[in-house]
């Protein structure tokens, strides 16, 4: 069983800085310790490898690193969305457990790990805070040869980082409205004026990944 002591034996330096840079900051120092690079694309790639290690080897050290990064963020996200601290803590644990169980479903040619964790946390919020079912689209599934091409994975991860940079350049007021929308504070009518986001490239990339999955199914 995993203990706090085990974490201390990780041969990486302190995995988390004491602060998080400003919203959507393109150059992040988070996760630096994981691979000794401050390039956000590399960091994101590294989280992808963490999920692979959980999927392939049930790697508890990889999980502990993901946990230390994402669990506090999930908790903060849930509290911002109206949860009390106790519920948010419990839900964050459940979200991270889901990440472990569903690691085989993660497709890095369609989403970054942060995006994937967000979708799990969002569904948890709908389930627990709004007490509502969450209909999800039909699963495209994984064919026997559906493991994504590494080039596709790198391209998606990089293009998502570019979108993040583009969003960092948005005026503060618009960024705050987007955050409000994702904390569940805006109705879809209020969202209507907030959708002029530069999603084009990443959308094309995801579309290619969907085409690949459709192809694998046929």
């Amino acid at each position: 069983m995993f203990t706090e002591t085990d974490i201390a034996t990780l041969d990486t330096p302190s995995a988390e800085p004491d602060f998080v840079p400003s919203k959507f900051a393109p150059k992040s120092v988070r996760g630096k310790s994981v691979n000794g690079s401050n390039n956000s694309c590399d960091v994101r790639q590294e989280w992808v490898l963490h999920v692979r290690r959980i999927r392939d080897e049930k790697d508890q050290l990889a999980f502990a690193e993901l946990f230390r990064h994402f669990a506090p963020r999930v908790k903060a996200f849930l509290i911002k969305s109206g949860s009390d601290a106790t519920t948010a803590e419990e839900c964050a644990q459940e979200v991270m457990a889901t990440l472990w169980h569903k690691a085989h479903l993660f497709d890095p040619s369609r989403a970054t790990v942060a995006t994937w964790v967000f979708t799990i946390a969002r569904n948890k919020r709908i389930d627990v805070l709004r007490k509502q079912r969450r209909p999800e689209p039909e699963d495209l599934g994984w064919g026997p040869e559906a493991e994504p091409d590494q080039d596709d994975v790198i391209a998606l991860q990089q293009e998502t980082a570019q979108l993040r940079d583009a969003m960092a350049a948005l005026p503060d007021a618009q960024r705050e409205l987007i955050q409000k929308a994702y904390f569940g504070d805006l109705s879809h009518r209020e969202i209507a004026s907030q959708t002029g986001l530069p999603l084009g490239t990443i959308k094309s990339r995801i579309r290619l990944a969907l085409d690949r999955l459709r192809h694998a199914m046929n």
Binding site: M1, F2, T3, E4, I7, V20, S22, K23, F24, A25, Q60, A64, F67, A71, P72, R73, K75, A76, F77, I79, K80, A88, E89, A92, Q93, A97, H101, A111, T112, A114, T115, F118, T119, R122, N123, I126, R133, R134, P135, P137, E138, D139, T160, M167, I178, Q179, Y182, F183, G184, H188, I191, Q194, T195, L197, L199, I202, K203, R207, L210, D211
Partner: protein, 216 residues
């Protein structure tokens, strides 16, 4: 998967779906459409990525309890909750709808609302209503009033109105201002999913349904 969907969901609905702020009935509409439309699915997953930034760049990640990792490993050790049974996708109703109906078209519990038109209201939260509509080939859709926003998506057959022709996967977005007369194609009975964010007005209008020609 329909390759030739012409009428898509709007960005504000896709973003609200990604943000998780839609009423359940609208979530069901979006999930059903995304099951058929890779164009909108890619857009919705791009909006998920925006959510990823919001989560990841949170200014103050909160400390987890001291034992939280241990507690999570204990949760994991309990095993995965029973996964949902996956229903076959080659059917009239995409998977998310089948989960509400309990099967494909044959499992729908229709109720007649007159003129051969039938409906089945699906169990969602009450902020908005989702229902399946059956319109016999060649028949007109009775007016049920657009008090708020109404989305209608074709699942089988097709219909036409003053706006355009709508086939499987196409979504018509109607608000209070739209006056239209949808008529099902002659070739096949039409089945639609309709979602509205205002209370249904069908019952008040029942007498009108028995008029020989519907004022729509």
């Amino acid at each position: 998967m329909s390759k030739d969907i012409k009428h898509h969901l709007t960005d504000d609905l896709l973003m609200a779906y990604a943000a998780g702020s839609l009423p359940e009935a609208f979530d069901l509409m979006v999930a059903t459409h995304l099951s058929l439309c890779d164009h909108c699915r890619a857009q919705a997953e791009s909006f998920d990525a925006v959510g990823g930034f919001v989560l990841d760049d949170h200014e103050m990640p909160l400390q987890m309890g001291e034992e939280s990792l241990t507690a999570t490993m204990a949760l994991i050790a309990k095993g995965e909750p029973t996964p949902k049974t996956v229903r076959p996708s080659c059917s009239v109703l995409p998977t998310p709808l089948q989960e509400y109906v309990g099967g494909d078209v044959s499992a729908i519990r229709w109720k007649s609302i007159g003129m051969g038109v039938k409906q089945a209201i699906l169990p969602t939260t009450r902020e908005a209503t989702a229902r399946l509509l059956f319109i016999p080939a060649g028949a007109a859709v009775p007016d049920h009033g657009h008090n708020g926003m109404e989305l209608t998506m074709v699942l089988q057959g097709a219909f036409s109105d003053e706006v355009d022709h709508f086939a499987r996967g196409d979504v018509e977005i109607a608000d209070e201002d739209l006056e239209h007369t949808p008529v099902a194609d002659m070739s096949e009975d039409c089945i639609c999913l309709a979602v509205t964010d205002a209370p249904l007005r069908f019952n008040k209008l029942m007498p009108r349904l028995f008029q020989p020609f519907l004022r729509i």
